[in-house]
Amino acid sequence: MARIVVLGTGFAGNTAALNLKKELGSKHEVIVISPRKNFSYVPSLVWVGVGSMQPEKTQFDLEPVYKKHGIIFKEGAAEEIRPDSRDQYVVVKYSDGKTEQIKYDYLINATGPKLNYAATPGLGPDAGYSDSICTLPHAVKTRDNYLKAVEKMKQGKRQKFVVGTGHGTATCQGAAFEFIHNLEFDLNRRGVRRNADITWISNEPALGDFGVGGVIVKKNGNLVSGKLFAESTFLEKGIKWVERAHVRKVEEGSLDYVNIEGEEGKLDFDFAMLIPPFAGIPIAYIDKDGNDIKSQMCVPSGFMKVDADYLSAAKPFEEWKNSDWPKKYNNPVYKNIFAAGIAFAPPHSISKPFKAPDGTLIVPSPPRTGMASGIIGHTVALSIIDMVKKGAEEATQQASMTEFGAICITSMGKSMTRGSAALLTMDPVVPNYEKYKFGRNLNYTFGDIGLAGHWVKYMLHYLFMWKMKGKFLWQFIPD
């Protein structure tokens, strides 16, 4: 009997666990470890943040799901991984302070990001002055602060809103873009838009970059840059913007930034929602002699090393290759350990990095979206299934972000009759300039804005909640 331990219950971990159990059945053991027993449908937190979706609708309890599927669930946090002792094990800490050693034959690290608010002084809802929508408690706090600002506007007071990224290397620009549009839409709905000044700030080299190096789409007989579409949405809604910017510090009611050109600026705000940079979840890696081997297992930001070419990061952007990107997501030293979703360390950014004159790095980190996380979680599961069932010595399945495409639906207002969303399909996620002149296959890369996009977004919410619950025919819903 083989035992597979999965750390994390997000898109990557849950997809991996359900697929592993489906294929391996009762002969083998699948154990899932996570500090939270709820699955959180993170993409809909943009709606929670402006009060247009009830928080409960984005969550469900995983315990009954795992019970039904015969998966063992342990509600605790992995603190330590011992990859090369005779019995490889994970040290798990439970909420009552007790710890347990859980042995594994195969391990999937799908622990997602640590929200690194500390990277920018004053950033974040816990010890700082800005809000965030990356977790449910933070999205609920954001909603409460947003509604307070709305109340002030109802009394005739002007309010300044700033939305975007809170650090030069943050990711998830798409989520911030969704939030600013939903905020603008909701202010209109509540009849207070005229009292609001809304400003976007981000580290993207240009609007519409979204950390994937921007996108070119076919439109009305032309090839058009996504930058124009992103800008046109701000123009239409009267949103100002600051691009190519690193937020240096956030204070009560204001933030300071510097941009790639070295221009310094300050934005005043009554409400700010700023996405933090991500780091790896702090887990210790200890060898059989008790030595700390974290630097061998992880890149400095704490994400786990997989089969990527990490030396390529030192090369100039023009020399980056598709082969830099991982395909199998196994650790190069311990081939029975995998990282999936946000937890794996990308070799470098996708967008071109720039530096401010003072040397500050300003570049979006590569997004590993829900769809990419699901695909990678599934791929890793299939490799492990081959290793368990067919005795393969190492990972057999490949899925590179330079090969697979993604569907991104960017909500711009939640209403079944007046809402809208930008629907973007891109193929592949990481532009492949070796293969395609514009980096992507233009027959599969598509963009449009409209109400139908919102219907799709809404449909996907329920479709993926269904899949993540492992309900009837879940396996036929694509990752």
């Binding site: 400003t199 058009v224 840059s225 930058k227 124009l228 579409f229 800008e231 046109s232 701000f234 123009l235 239409e236 100002k240 913007w241 600051v242 691009e243 910017a245 941009n259 050109e261 221009e263 600026g265 300050k266 934005l267 005043d268 395909k327 199998k328 695909i375 599934h378 791929t379 299939l382 990972a395 057999t396 399945q397 490949q398 899925a399 590179s400 090969e403 697979f404 495409g405 993604a406 569907i407 009759t417 007046r418 809402g419 809208s420 629907l423 399909t425 193929d427 592949p428 599969y444 598509f446 449009d448 804005i449 409209g450 109400l451 139908a452 996009g453 219907w455 799709v456 694509p478 990752d479």
Partner: protein
Amino acid sequence: MEDKSVKDLTEYVPYSKEARSFMAPTKYTVFIRTFIPWQLVKFIYYNLKMLRVLLKGHGRFMDT
């Protein structure tokens, strides 16, 4: 505090840095984006577009 790195295209300023790559939806485009009969057609079209990307596969393949 306003400064020159804050871009604001709500007022069109000819020859400005912002006006160099200008695009904005017309009233018709804004209307059609929420015109339900047309959006129903688009909904079907979007699903076919997405299906095409999904049918192309995830780039996932066996390493032989």
